[in-house]
């Protein structure tokens, strides 16, 4: 028997959903026009006023918002509420070192947590469950989002945050955790660790997992389900829009329902920006229609995706998106962290290294590895090995502080990085996802 957190919304008729979207979009456009000069200018540049947007059918008229806009408006330029009404920020890495900072009113946090609660109930969660949140807490949205959702459902919430695998396993076993929330690669790692300890799936109390923030395959799902003896559900989100819970999987495990009462999804051609017909593959674009503090109109996610309105066996009526099939930019997701090659380049140049580098991403024992290979230059070279190693360590520390992620730095011989047509291949992603 399928259970829902907000059945009247999750199973509403298409007409009802469309009516909510029409009404909320019109209101949202007026809200940003009145409160965000940045948006007003963008709309004026296209000759638009709020009167031109009468409903979802007019959405395509609005200009896109991109990561470049977020950078330009950083930090307060897109905030649509007085700061006295904002209660929190969350943050993710941006393209060139400037981070993306998203703002929330208390109401925004409530709605975000509702979205996460829907995901937990769709995964079978109730107030009988012990929900261990092993996503990172802090600026990253994973921990705070699922933590709030878990509270709303009434689960006993175990806020372990990420890392310290031994302690994670101890809590899962001692507290009889039934739901695990973390990145899929960490779930796989926990599974392998428990297997090495000699635990069989029936000795692991978990029954479901909610895994997101990075790409994972159907094969990986099967592996995780088998080693942990659980059902593994996908969850999707972006800090820019709120965090996890923009879309979530149901018992059908065949795509994620987008919370359409809060987000309008479009698929566009990433080259032309044109809206593509339903069922087409293209770039996913979201408009947040209930966000107060940080509303985004037509935000380009750069995720390549497909939408499906086929009737779902779970009874939910909201449109489903497939797992993102790739990116229309060069962003990498490594251990759940967004990484842009340009960020790595910035750190290299700041440390006096040349822009002759290569980023090698791999997955070893379910954990993503990041190796930055840099060509040695006459300027960086000395006969003193210790000095070179000291600079190498400084670079590792610089990368860690920029990316929030441990990277390995390998110094390689000049001209050893492969160049095709004179242009270096910057990223080699060896992961089989």
């Amino acid at each position: 028997m399928e259970r829902y957190y907000q059945p009247e919304i999750e199973c509403a008729s298409r007409e009802q959903i469309k009516a909510w979207q029409d009404e909320r979009l019109v209101k949202q456009v007026k809200h940003v026009w009145d409160n965000v000069p940045y948006y007003r200018k963008k709309m004026e540049a296209k000759g638009l006023t709020p009167d031109d947007i009468k409903g979802v059918d007019d959405l395509h008229k609005l200009p896109f918002v991109t990561k470049a806009d977020l950078r330009e408006a950083y930090p307060y330029g897109l905030v649509a509420k007085p700061l006295k009404d904002c209660v929190r920020i969350q943050s993710t890495s941006g393209t060139t070192g400037k981070r993306v900072v998203a703002f929330y009113t208390q109401h925004d946090i409530d709605l975000w947590e509702d979205c996460c609660a829907r995901a937990i109930v769709a995964a079978g969660g109730s107030n009988e469950d012990v929900c261990q949140v092993s996503y990172g807490y802090g600026l990253f949205t994973g921990g705070p989002g699922l933590n709030g959702g878990s509270h709303k459902v009434g689960c006993l919430t175990v806020p372990t945050s990420s890392g310290n695998t031994e302690r994670q396993i101890m809590f899962i076993r001692d507290l009889n955790a039934t739901i695990l929330c973390c990145t899929p690669s960490y779930a796989a790692y926990l599974g392998e660790s428990m297997k090495e300890m000699g635990l069989t799936p029936d000795q692991i109390p978990l029954k479901a997992g909610i895994f997101g923030a990075e790409a994972w395959s159907e094969e990986m799902r099967q592996d995780i389900q088998n080693t942990l003896g659980i059902k593994a559900y996908d969850i999707y989100g972006l800090t820019e829009l709120s965090g996890p819970g923009v879309a979530f999987e149901c018992s059908a495990q065949s795509g994620m329902h987008i919370n359409e009462d809060h987000f309008i999804a479009e698929i566009i051609d990433p080259e032309t920006g044109e809206v593509l017909p339903e069922g087409s593959k293209g770039e996913l674009v979201f408009t947040s229609i209930t966000k107060e503090a940080f509303p985004l109109l037509r935000y380009r996610t750069r995720d390549i995706c497909m939408l499906s309105r086929e009737k779902c066996s779970c009874g939910r009526t909201h449109v489903k998106m497939c797992k993102p099939m790739g990116r229309s930019d060069d962003m990498l997701v490594i251990r759940g962290v967004n990484v842009f090659p340009s960020q790595i380049e910035t750190v290299l140049l700041n440390h006096g290294y040349p822009a002759n580098y290569q980023i090698i991403v791999d997955r070893v024992k379910s954990t993503d590895t990041l190796d930055v290979q840099v060509e040695m230059t006459p300027e960086m070279f000395t006969d003193n090995l210790g000095e070179i190693e000291r600079r190498q360590k400084e670079l590792v520390a610089g990368l860690r502080s920029m990316l929030g992620l441990a990277a390995k730095v390998t110094l390689v011989a000049p001209k050893s990085i492969v160049r095709s047509e004179g242009k270096a291949v910057r990223v080699i992603d060896k992961r089989k996802i």
Binding site: F381, L385, E389, T410, V412, A413
Partner: protein, 144 residues
């Protein structure tokens, strides 16, 4: 009062050293001494050669990153306590040795040669000269 050492950056992988000595061999550069310092991923090979100009030119042309560093060369009588005596002098003069390596040979079979990379070449040379220990000049090294 110093001799020139060439340091070359190499990746720590099979054939890397061979490829570099190949470049020197083809251009008839004669090695006087060689020492390797390595990490897991890369190494620095330090060379004393008969023709520094020729060696650095061909290495540069072959795409190697290198640097030239002044080091102190000392001929030490090939008898017990020979090295100890030299280190005593450097210790007394409070000169720190960053690294050192030895080689035998040349025409003078009674001596071993030590190469010292020190923080202060002038202080080291002066201290050695004051105690009657002869440092090797560049020209002498080239003609060994």
């Amino acid at each position: 009062m110093s001799i020139k050492q060439i340091s070359v950056f190499l990746e720590n992988k099979p054939g890397a050293l061979y490829a570099m000595t190949g470049v020197l061999a083809q251009n008839k550069v004669d090695l006087r001494a060689l020492s390797l310092a390595e990490t897991k991923d890369f190494g620095i090979v330090r060379l004393i050669v008969d023709n520094v100009y020729e060696a650095t030119t061909v290495l540069k042309d072959a795409g190697y990153v290198h640097s030239v560093t002044p080091v102190i060369g000392v001929a030490i009588p090939d008898t017990p306590g020979g090295l100890n005596k030299v280190l005593q002098v450097l210790t007394d003069a409070k000169v720190n040795v960053e690294y050192m390596y030895a080689f035998l040979g040349g025409r003078d079979v009674d001596h071993a040669y030590m190469i010292f990379r020190v923080a202060d070449n002038a202080a080291a040379s002066a201290a050695l000269a004051a105690r009657g220990i002869q440092v090797v000049e560049q020209e002498e090294m080239e003609n060994l």
